[in-house]
Amino acid sequence: MSTAYQAVGWNQQKRVYDLVLLGLVLIAAAAFGSVIALRHPETTAETFIIRFTSLTAFVLLHVTLAIGPLARLFPFFMPMLYNRRHLGVTVAVLAMAHGIFSIIQFHAFGDVNPVVSVFTAYDNEYLAVFQDFRSISRFPFEIFGFGALLILFLMAATSHDFWLKNLGPTVWKRLHQLVYLAYGLLLAHVLLGVVQSERSLLFPLLCGAGCLVLVALHLLAARKEHSIDKLRNAAMADGFVEVAATDELSADTGKVVVANGVRFALFVRKGRLFALSNVCRHQGGPIGEGRILNGCITCPWHGYQYRAEDGCSPPPFSEVLETYPLRIVEGKVFLSPVALPPETKSEGVLVENVKPKPTTEFPIGWQSKLPSKTHRLMKATVTVLALAVPMVLGLCAWFFSPVDRGRFEFGSENIQRGILYEQPVPRLRITSADGKSVDHILVGAGKFGAGDLIKGADGREVSFTGTRIERKPFHMIEITRPETFRVLDPDAEPRPAPAVSTLGEGEFTGELVDTKCWSGVMRPATGKVHRACAVRCLSGGVPPGLLVRNKSGDGVVLLLAAEMGGKLEYDVQLAARFITVKGVLELHGETPVLRVVSIKTVD
């Protein structure tokens, strides 16, 4: 109700609200972080941020969406409604942090613009769903999250009262009703994303419970509203409609009545009855559920005030509500649904036998203190939230699958020196001081393979600056500074490739992975949540691998290489899918290599 806009019209309750909200997020972060440190200490900082922000945003979105119907069903939740927009903006900020980190983590530093990659990383699945609907579980879940993020951004960006006034309450409300679409998109994002990767039933169960509670609350509130809307009253010949009996009215307290399917607010002030529109000019709050405070009709949602006599807000404010003519005949109240000219001053209709002002509390956000009973109930609600939100986050942290292991010496660059071999995959054979030789697969920075940099250096001694990556049986080096790449013996004869032993041939079923992420750069590096990243890496030239189960049930990755040497031709969008590869298994040093004859999908 300010006359000049501020960023936030702070008052005591808004400060308390925001402090409680900040405390809730911090407690949730502490709970989530503690469980992650205990259970999955290998989790990287990026994965922690991506998971924490998504979970917190999703849980708080449920809280945000529950406040509306809760306040309709149980008015003591009204103080939570007062500053709900700050809760909504917090959800949007957390969701945006999740989105930005995910796009950087899974789509950036590759061969395609990261935003474009969100939509195209495995775009063959868009049409696949029309050929076989069961492939819906492979559908790109990222686009649903992107859509939800756009809506949450728009809602947060237009949350200020400037937008409410200049878009108009109807458009503003309709825009903000898109939150239900955003929620649906987020459900799709979660159910087709993390639920497809994580095996614990906790995730679909929690998600289902949250959705069920929300839908039930909204349907109950809608039922209550619908029962008011369907009230039908008799009309007089001159258009006046019977809407209430005088003994139903209370002093200084509103009553919602219906005439011709439209709601109106009746108020008794100083023994006179007035009728006004039931729709607050601010956010469409139910005026008839308000009270008279400081001589003005006060909306229960955000405390906007109007004079009963002419429907105008007291100066310096300029909002005006429609007022309506009334008459009382034999204890019955009759209302004409045709509004009086705006700002018409009315003396109201003398009314007798009204009930005294109720003693129930009427909390309003701009009051410096909440009434005592409401205050106690709010404290109880905050306590429940302070226990429930961290518990949900802690449970999710506990039940996440173990993240993939491996060691990536990010930020630690060293000069690497050895004999380079281009086939079957680019690798550097480094001989240590004790004479032991170990092959290191070579990849480029970001989501790229070694590329053309190494062409023509087969069998020669080279050196360059790079970073080690290790996950047994793989040793890998990321060439971080291509400009340092040198062939040390350009005039010498190329060394012959080391001996290769054949382990057997047959069909091998497993998950197609990119060996760089699997070796320790990404945790997790498998499953659908990592699929887009794997596609980008494979598309950029990182050697592909087949993650299979050995006899002890552990995962082993077989490097995939062309049967006859050269470049392996395959569909990179098969990444993270289960495939059967027919081929010959060889051992190059310690590295198992599968010479591919054919590939077929099995999932």
């Binding site: 806009y5 936030v8 960006a157 200020h160 309709r174 009703q177 649906g184 639920v195 349907l219 995962g555």
Partner: protein, 116 residues
């Protein structure tokens, strides 16, 4: 093909946002006070806060679009429809996502060939 389409779409979004930034700065300097006197004396914090929305929704102000007001009843009805649609959509989604859940590592057959 889809990559080309999304590249163009991204290019369009960038141009749209750039136009929005230019418009929003101009609108903040002149124009905003005309449509809403309370904005003319708005604080710097307020001006920063409304920038993202102005960048996103600049055509509404540029073309001085006027919206029709709907009744409170129609807003309640659209709210009710949205909830019923959400209930049906989420039920179907849960059903298909769990019925055709993707296999996991544990579902893979064991490789008999001795592996290193």
């Amino acid at each position: 093909m889809s990559e080309t389409f999304f590249n163009y779409a991204l290019g369009f979004a960038v141009i749209y946002a750039l136009c929005g930034i230019i418009f929003a700065v101009g609108f903040q300097l002149r124009g905003m006070g005309k449509i809403d006197p309370a904005a003319e004396k708005g604080t710097w914090g307020f001006r920063v806060l409304v920038m993202p929305g102005l960048v996103a929704l600049w055509p509404l102000f540029f073309f001085a679009y006027r919206f029709h007001e709907a009744s409170a009843f129609s807003l309640r009805r659209s709210h009710r429809i949205a909830i019923i649609a959400l209930a049906v959509f989420s039920a179907v989604l849960f059903l298909v996502a769990l019925a055709w859940r993707l296999p996991s590592f544990g579902d893979l057959p064991v490789i008999e060939t001795p592996l290193p």
